[in-house]
């Protein structure tokens, strides 16, 4: 496979789609192994392949090493990846959360040193934001960094850090001032995961996945040059980037759900033959309605992304509806497995049990991660509806 020349910045979406489709049709799309170490290795290699072909950092500026195209181009590629049955690049945390923050708030050294390897997949980044005692109340984090000459000494514990045990770098929020309002005493450090004093422990999810980790920091030394932005400016950086990333994540998830539902429909059609199956019919009807709601909702999301409105409380409406839709879609499909849900290798109505049971379980996490549905409802009530704070 040869590296294609980066396209002109004015490339139309249709032309871009055609080029992406052609490339994917010829590409050697990897099977994703179940074993977590091989999965990581395979997906990292896939990111490298995508990068070399010019499909990573599509909406990043050329100066930052990207393709200088628009968010819509990026979304088109996300969709084409999903439709081709190809995995997304594994370094999403780096590409969508950490990278944009470094690009915007970083020093020259940080940008030049870190961004190229982040894009290429040579460095995979993880995100050390959440803590065991600060779930929905993210700002109450307690991991401390104390200045010590040219370094910070970091101690504390993070959780829900995906791929931490295999990552090279960590974007870490730390408390640098305990005397002020909780949001005002937080700094953002870029931490080399090979630093002495870091240990990681993968947590098993009920899906069987083990990519989320606890990360323990025990007097870890981080050079002052690795501070992103100023001391105590971490909260603003983190929330800006988390907010910006949300719209992209919503749109990516929409495509994943759409592709999955289409696939389920193919299986159901193939298995149904000529016999009627009212239960599957009703389930497909409900799932389709839900998916259309998400499609309609994300047209607004796309419009906001194009207009670059930045984070808004409307993101919470998106999140709530997205959660609703994916939970409806996968619950409907998974219910069609009947008693064979208990047997992962079986097929019911043409649907492979383990595949759809997995999707269903995974959808249950949607109302928890990225701000629980309870948090989203409070944001909507107070910030969009103007209801009084309790």
């Amino acid at each position: 496979m040869t590296v294609q020349p980066p396209s002109a910045p004015t490339e139309s979406l249709d032309a871009f789609r055609t080029r992406a489709r052609a490339w994917l049709a010829a590409a050697d799309i990897p099977e994703v192994p179940r074993d977590i170490d091989s999965r990581f290795a395979t997906l990292r290699q896939w990111q490298k392949t995508l990068f070399e072909a010019g499909w990573v950092g599509i909406a990043w500026s050329k100066q930052a090493g990207g393709q200088g195209l628009s968010h819509l181009h990026h979304l088109v590629f996300v969709g084409e990846l999903a439709r081709a049955g190809a995995p997304q690049p594994i370094g999403l945390i780096g590409l969508e959360v950490v990278g944009p923050s470094i690009d915007r708030y970083g020093t020259d050294w940080q940008r030049h040193e870190l961004l190229p390897r982040l894009l290429s997949g040579d460095d995979i980044w993880c995100q050390g934001f959440s803590e065991p005692n600060a779930g929905s109340d993210l700002a109450s984090l307690r991991t401390r960094a104390v200045a010590d000459g040219d370094e910070f000494l970091v101690s504390g514990q993070k959780i829900w850090t995906s791929w931490a045990h295999l990552s090279h770098w960590c974007a870490l929020l730390v408390r640098t001032d305990t005397s002020v309002r909780k949001q005002a005493g937080i700094s953002y450090l870029l931490v080399d995961m090979t630093s002495p004093g870091i240990t990681t422990r993968p947590i098993t999810q009920m899906t069987g996945d083990r990519e989320f980790c606890e990360v323990f920091f025990d007097d870890v030394r981080v050079p002052r040059a690795n501070l992103l932005g100023g001391v105590n400016e971490g909260w603003a950086i983190a929330t800006h980037t988390l907010g910006s990333e949300r719209a992209g994540a919503t749109l990516r998830r929409r495509v994943e759900c759409e592709v999955a539902l289409d696939e389920a429909l193919d299986h159901l059609r193939a298995a149904r033959g000529s016999s009627s199956d009212d239960r599957a019919t009703a389930a497909v009807g409900r799932a389709h309605v839900a998916m259309r709601v998400l499609d309609a909702q994300t047209r607004q999301t796309t419009a906001r992304l194009v207009a670059d409105t930045g984070p808004t409380p409307m993101d919470s409406v998106d999140k709530l509806l997205l959660t609703d839709v994916e939970q409806i879609v996968f619950a409907e499909i998974a219910a069609l497995l009947g008693p064979l849900r208990a047997v992962p290798g079986a097929r019911a109505r043409g649907l492979l049990s383990q595949r759809w049971a997995y999707e269903h379980l995974y959808s249950r996490a949607a109302s928890i991660y990225g701000g629980s549905s309870q948090i989203q409802r409070t944001i909507i009530a107070e910030r969009l509806m103007g209801l009084p704070r309790g």
Partner: protein, 362 residues
Amino acid sequence: MAEPIDVGAEYGSAVDDYLTRAYDGDRCRALLSAGGWDAGLAAELAELGWHGLAVPERHGGLGAPLSSLGPVFTALGRHLAVGPMLENTLLPAVLHPHWTIAPALAAAVETGVPVALVDPGITDDRTADVGAMTLHDQRLSGAVEAVRFAGQASLLAVVAATEAGEVVCFVDPTTPGVRIDSVDSADPATAFARVALDDVRADGAAPADGGELVARIRSWARLLIACELSGVADHALDRTVTYIGQREQFGQPIGSFQAVKHIAADMYAQATGLRNLCTASLADATDASTADLAVLAWTAKAHAAEVAVRVCEDAVQLHGGMGFTTESDVSACYLRTLALRSWYGDATELQLRIGAALLDRV
């Protein structure tokens, strides 16, 4: 994916503005308990020219696409407007090739005296209860238990079964053999009648394009009712936000209680989702094939039926006892929603049709 254009938003705002000025408040409340029909209002809206929006310019209309009626119906729903808007805007626009044989279609646009749609196809579920209509040798026989505004209509557009499929025929309500009995209505914005035809001569459409035409009428009826339901849900939501921001219990506005807040936030998200679904469906409907249009319309109507009911039920709940009285707007929203929910199919009925259509595709 179609671009998110806001079809007919301008018409919608105009209707919204007019109704805010000339209809809201006492007049609305009085008409909601007056049987769903007011000749004065019907004439007034006709006068404003609203019914001609989607009528071709050669017939004196504005020639806007049918989808531009969507925002109009959302506005009508938001103001709980009473009367035969579906009959006076959609039917003249869709049936314009037949204006010559049915001049009352043109009159409806001008005067607001409606053309009633006599359609046994308002549900696919237990159709026997609704009735049936057949056409043999250009003569119509049958009965339909529930026809909107038939008692007020100057013309009946009758959907009848033939051996070659369904067709639309026209009948003058004064023709011998036509029997129209007004019946009670549980919909505060609609008057109903039972229509029976006993060997009545029909003027009308050729069977050749009948099925297509009937499908088109029903699909657009579903889309516009979905928009109207979206408007009703918006209204119930607005009233609720105002109410829970003011009403105090235990020394604070009930809207400051987290449990109330979260119910309200769900209403907001659901109503927003429905509004966006309507907008997207209208945008996609314009160029859709008959089959795709049907699925779009089933989908929008199915979701509207479910969401509007849920939002109104929460609105009533958050209003407490007051929401259960006719003195609150939300009770009228709920009654209207319950009536429109199953008109041309509720979620359960339509989901089955959607599922069947999708699973049959190869």
